[in-house]
Every structure is written in C-alpha cells, then in structure tokens.
C-alpha cells in the first residue's frame, strides 16, 4: 500500500515486519557477526574437548571406568562450555546501544531474545553436538550410546542456552556481571544434566531412553515459552 511520506510521518510508525521475518533478520545478523569473528564458536568447542580430555589424567585410563563416566563427563563439560559463552549473548549489544534500539523496535523483545538465543545455539550448541562423538570415542562409549547422546544433547543444549539467556540478561550492568552468571544459572541446569546423562545410561543398560528424552523435550518447550519472556523483562530493566 503505497503511503506517501507525510501520511506515514503524521499518522504513526509502520507495523514492523511479521514475527517470523523479524526473528529471521535478527538471527541472520547475529550469524553474520559470528562468522565475521569465528573465534568465539571455536573457543567453546576447544574448551569442551580440552576439559573432557582432562578427566582421564585425573581418574586414570581404566577402560570400563571411563566408559561408565563418559555421558557424565560429556554433559558436564558441554554445560560448562555453554556457560562460558553466555556473557557475550547480550553484553556487546548492551554496550554499543543496539539493545536500546531493539527494545524500541516493533519486533517484540521476547522474539528478539529467542532469535539471539537461536543464533547463540547455532554458534555454540551445534558445534558441541558435532564435537561430542569425538569425546565419546575417547572414552570408549559403546556404539549404541552415540545416537541417544546426540539426541539428548540436541534437546538439552538449546534449553541450556535459553535458561542461560535469563542469567545473562539479569547480570547486564552488574558489577562483575560475568562472574555472577554461573551462580545464577548452574542450579537451574541440574534437571537438564540429570535427564541428559540418565538418557544415555538407560540406553547403555538396554532400557529405552524414551522417558528421559520426552522429559527433556518438555523442558525445552517450557524454556522456549518462559525464558525469552523472563529475559525480555530483565533486558527492559537493563536499558532503563
């Protein structure tokens, strides 16, 4: 509908793009930014593999011991890798003023938060998923476990990013905000860790991992519904 400039100027702003389009544009920008500085994604994966590699030095390389703790180690190190990368989720946008403009844009803030978390997951969670089999291999995880491990991480890592986003948003503008995120977020990570590991354990024991995966799916849906809304509330406070 061709509107000449005066009408739009006097009448009121334009309705923003649809939610999906706004979401896609924020994801596209964040991915382009991440591509322009590939370091961050790589750091998370390197931390993940390196930390997982430390355990045998501590615990010894006795095969069936390593095999038993493999899911636990993979999940704990993945969780810590996600935790490390949470601070850069909003901090740069908060410091250069982009967050204010996003809060003022027609695209609702929860949608923008969801888009930023999706971009964060694509640049952090997915690489962890890709690197997990390497660690499982190092620990001698039986072949049957790989599929469930990846399925569980595919459901779990986005939940970690979503819950982490609330922590990252809450600590914006705090003194030493980054140090605070683990304290706020780790207690909330415990259910994901428990079900993630028990899914693989159930598979190893020959039981079906369906209940664990279903619960993790429910956790993910709940996180998708609540976390962006809570993080948006925290961001609104940060841009005051």
């Amino acid at each position: 509908m061709p509107k000449t400039a005066p009408e739009t100027a006097a009448a009121g702003g334009d309705p923003g793009p649809g939610l999906i389009l706004g979401f896609a544009r924020v994801v596209a920008r964040d991915l382009r930014l991440a591509l322009r500085q590939r370091g961050d994604a790589l750091l998370a994966v390197l931390f993940f593999v390196l930390t997982a590699m430390l355990f045998p030095f501590g615990i010894g390389q006795e095969p069936n011991l390593l095999q038993r703790i493999a899911p636990g180690v993979v999940w704990v190190t993945a969780l810590l890798a996600v935790l490390l990368s949470l601070e850069r989720l909003f901090l740069r946008d908060y410091e250069d003023g982009s967050l204010e403009l996003m809060a003022l844009s027609p695209v609702p803030l929860p949608v923008i938060v969801l888009a930023k978390v999706t971009a964060h997951w694509l640049t952090t969670g997915l690489p962890l998923l890709a690197a997990a089999p390497i660690i499982a291999l190092m620990y001698g995880l039986p072949a049957a476990g790989y599929g469930i491990l990846l399925a569980a991480m595919a459901l779990g890592t986005p939940t970690l990013s979503l819950i982490g986003a609330v922590g990252a948003a809450l600590t914006l503008g705090a003194r030493r905000g980054g140090v605070l995120i683990p304290l706020l977020v780790l207690p909330l990570y415990i259910p994901v860790l428990i079900f993630g590991v028990s899914a693989v354990d159930a598979q190893m024991a020959g039981l079906s991992a369906r209940p664990q995966l279903l619960l993790m799916g429910a956790g993910l849906l709940a996180a998708v519904a609540l976390a962006p809304w809570a993080a948006a509330g925290a961001l609104r406070q940060a841009v005051e």
Binding site: A5, D14, P17, L21, L33, D96, M102
Partner: protein
C-alpha cells in the same frame, strides 16, 4: 519506582488546546503532564509539563546532569516515569507502549553500529526491523553523503562518518516522533546543515522533534524547555511521609 496512578485522577488532561500556531490541520499532539523521573535512588526532575504540536520542535537545554537525557529516555518509554503521564493525541502512552514505540526514533549517545558489518548491512538490519526495503536504506545513506561508503566495514569509518551513519538510520524508516540526544556532536559544519534540513523536512511533513543539544541548531520557532526549571522537591519537604513515624 512506584508508578503512581492515584495522582493522575487529580490532573485529568483537559481537551488538547487548539493548535496555537493556528495551523488548520488538526495534527497530532505530544504532551507530558506532571512528569517525574527517578534514576537509581536519585530524583532527577518532577512536575515537568510540556506540549508539542505536529510540526513542532522542542529543544531541551540545561547543564550537564540536569536530566535532559533522562527526559528523552522517559519520552522514548525506555525509562518508565516515576510520576505523571505522557499523552499522544490525548491518549495515555502507557496504555499502548507498542504503538508508542512504533511511532518514534530514539538516537542516544551510542551509535548502535557493529564494526565488523558494513554501513549498508548495519542500516539494513535496523531498517529491516522496521520492515523497510534496501531502497530506503540507499536513499537514507545518500541524504547524509554516505552513498560511496555503503560497502565499507564500519570499523574503517571516522567518528563523524559513524555519527552520520547512525543519524541516517532515522531517515531509512519514517516515524512521526524523533527523539535526538545531542545529534550534532561530532558532526562537521556541512553535516550539521544537512541535519537541520532533514529536521525541517520532517517537521514540514507533520513530524515532531524533541532534541537535547549544547550547540544551538537554527530551527524555525523551536520551543525551549529547561529541565532545570523542574527540580525534584527535596526529600525533607513538609509532606515528608516519614514524619512522626520513626520515634
């Protein structure tokens, strides 16, 4: 901050006064009634009123730290007012914040530009959030003389060029209300004139501008408001709610 609703009943907004400049068109009016602002535990200003017709420009003056930026953030609905009401066409802005956000552009001290992205990409993103085409972006860049820098990564641009790029963001997507916080800082003389021309064009089209500035911009009959004239009542005023309560 307690958003205090009970006091609004007392100062119910009267019908918007007729446009003083006798302009026939019943343009929109942007007004503030008894605005109060608290940031951190410090009261910044209180009892602030203003009234801006369509095509009007409100220039905020006052020494540093008197609350010009805070007022602009209150008008942009970034900072909820601790007291009082914002009215757009007589309707309380707090009732429909989305609509208010859609009708304004806010330009703060930060430029919201990513050094890794090119000028066109940066502007394209912000215009994209307003659902504007690439054509609008190109026109906006051209109006601020940045057409040839479109494909330059922003980290290679000078501070002045970044400032102009940030201002051109406002031109890419038209919105009736411009809230500019010291827009002319860091601009060379030619760019300041371009800025003034853009503001006048916007006002001619019925838009409104509220800007805080230290360097005077020559705009047609601007309305002045000194935030300094509305200091907060000191805490120990007579109506001290603590009186007689402590011991």
């Amino acid at each position: 901050m307690a958003a205090d609703n009970s006091s609004q009943a007392a100062s119910a907004p009267s019908a918007a006064p007729a446009a003083p400049s006798g302009r026939p068109r019943a343009g929109v009016r942007f007004a503030g009634r008894d605005l109060g602002c608290v940031r951190g535990d410090r009261a910044i200003f209180a009892g602030l009123d203003f009234d801006l017709p369509a095509g009007g420009a409100l220039v905020l003056s006052g020494p540093n730290g008197s609350g010009k930026s805070s007022l602009l953030r209150v008008l942009a609905s970034l900072l909820p007012p601790a007291a009082g009401q914002l009215l757009w066409d007589g309707a309380d802005v707090a009732r429909d914040p989305e609509a208010h956000r859609a009708r304004l552009h806010y330009q703060g001290h930060h430029e919201a530009l990513k050094p890794e992205l090119t000028a066109a990409e940066n502007l394209g993103f912000w215009a994209g959030l307003q659902d504007k085409s690439a054509g609008a972006v190109a026109r906006a860049l051209a109006r601020f003389g940045l057409a040839d820098l479109a494909d330059q990564p922003v980290r290679l641009l000078s501070a002045g060029q970044r400032r102009r790029l940030s201002l051109s963001r406002i031109l890419a997507a038209p919105a009736p209300l411009w809230l500019l916080d010291e827009p002319s800082v860091g601009l060379d003389a030619r760019s300041v004139r371009t800025l003034e021309a853009e503001i006048e064009a916007h006002r001619a089209a019925g838009g409104l501008v509220v800007l805080a500035t230290h360097q005077p911009l020559d705009l047609a009959d601007p309305r002045a408001l000194s935030v300094d004239d509305f200091p907060p009542a000191p805490v120990t005023a007579d109506d001290d709610p603590w009186a007689g309560a402590l011991w």
